[in-house]
Symmetry: C2
Amino acid sequence: MTTADARTPARLRHTPSWLISLVSAHSHRLVGAGFAAAGARGYHYRLLAALDEYGPSSQAALGRATAVDRSDVVAALNELAAQGFVDRTPDPSDRRRNIVTLTADGTRHLLELDGVLTGIQEELLAPLSPAERDQLTGLLARLADHHAKSR
Amino acid sequence: MTTADARTPARLRHTPSWLISLVSAHSHRLVGAGFAAAGARGYHYRLLAALDEYGPSSQAALGRATAVDRSDVVAALNELAAQGFVDRTPDPSDRRRNIVTLTADGTRHLLELDGVLTGIQEELLAPLSPAERDQLTGLLARLADHHAKSR
DNA sequence: GGGCCAACATTGGCGCAACCAACAATACAT
DNA sequence: ATGTATTGTTGGTTGCGCCAATGTTGGCCC
């Protein structure tokens, strides 16, 4: 045997960016699997959530609210519209825009995905106590906030 | 205007998996840009780090140590070998294996990437105090650990 | 020794997320 | 009126994480 077994290199084990991407990868696997089982993927949930919270919106506004690229919004909305979760009609007051609307089916779908997602939070944070979970989300929120502002 | 500006939907703002992927995406952008400027990418760093820590290894062992798929190890090693950062010679004692060795140039390159990476940690964790940084890495490490074990 | 299964390197492919460049149509500001 | 910005859309590219198939080689059992 020429050395090297299944232990992560030390310089990675203690590097925050590595830990974050590790945990993110795991979370991503869980979410991806859960969403896939419901016939969706990340972009779909983001868009549906934005529509539910802000009401009918233009595609550009949706992209801004969800940090999804305009071009990717198009593709995801095509899929959502094909499933009947969303309606897309031209805005009469600004003919560049489409007004995207959440349908009743779309709302149902969103609620289903909400369920998937909350279940996954539990699984993801399993080893942490409630206090620790708050600590973690607080710290992460501050990081996310900081970097969102300096954009 | 039909509502919806640049605020993230509330159900996402408080969802750990969302925060994690947000921060991870940001970290990923930083690391990706830094590595790209040095002519590398994530897989390269992982492999070089493993080689440096464990010494000459087979490709399969490298894949295990870095959680990189065997097939992706092949591609990354091709790139690293083309840059002269790594040597690949057949193992005389087991002709199925290649022995991958870190060259002097490879070590230099690794050190350069180390520098890039530590700079990025600073940028990534900027808004946190030293104590908070320890808290965060501690919590993340526990999550990573937990999920690594249940694999 | 013959036969079988496991491990290895390699090729080729897939899906998702994130991003970029270009374009035509429309709105708007000066 | 002319230029600038915004919008939806098409059509790419990249990184990362996977999976399947192939041919070669080792190790093991009988």
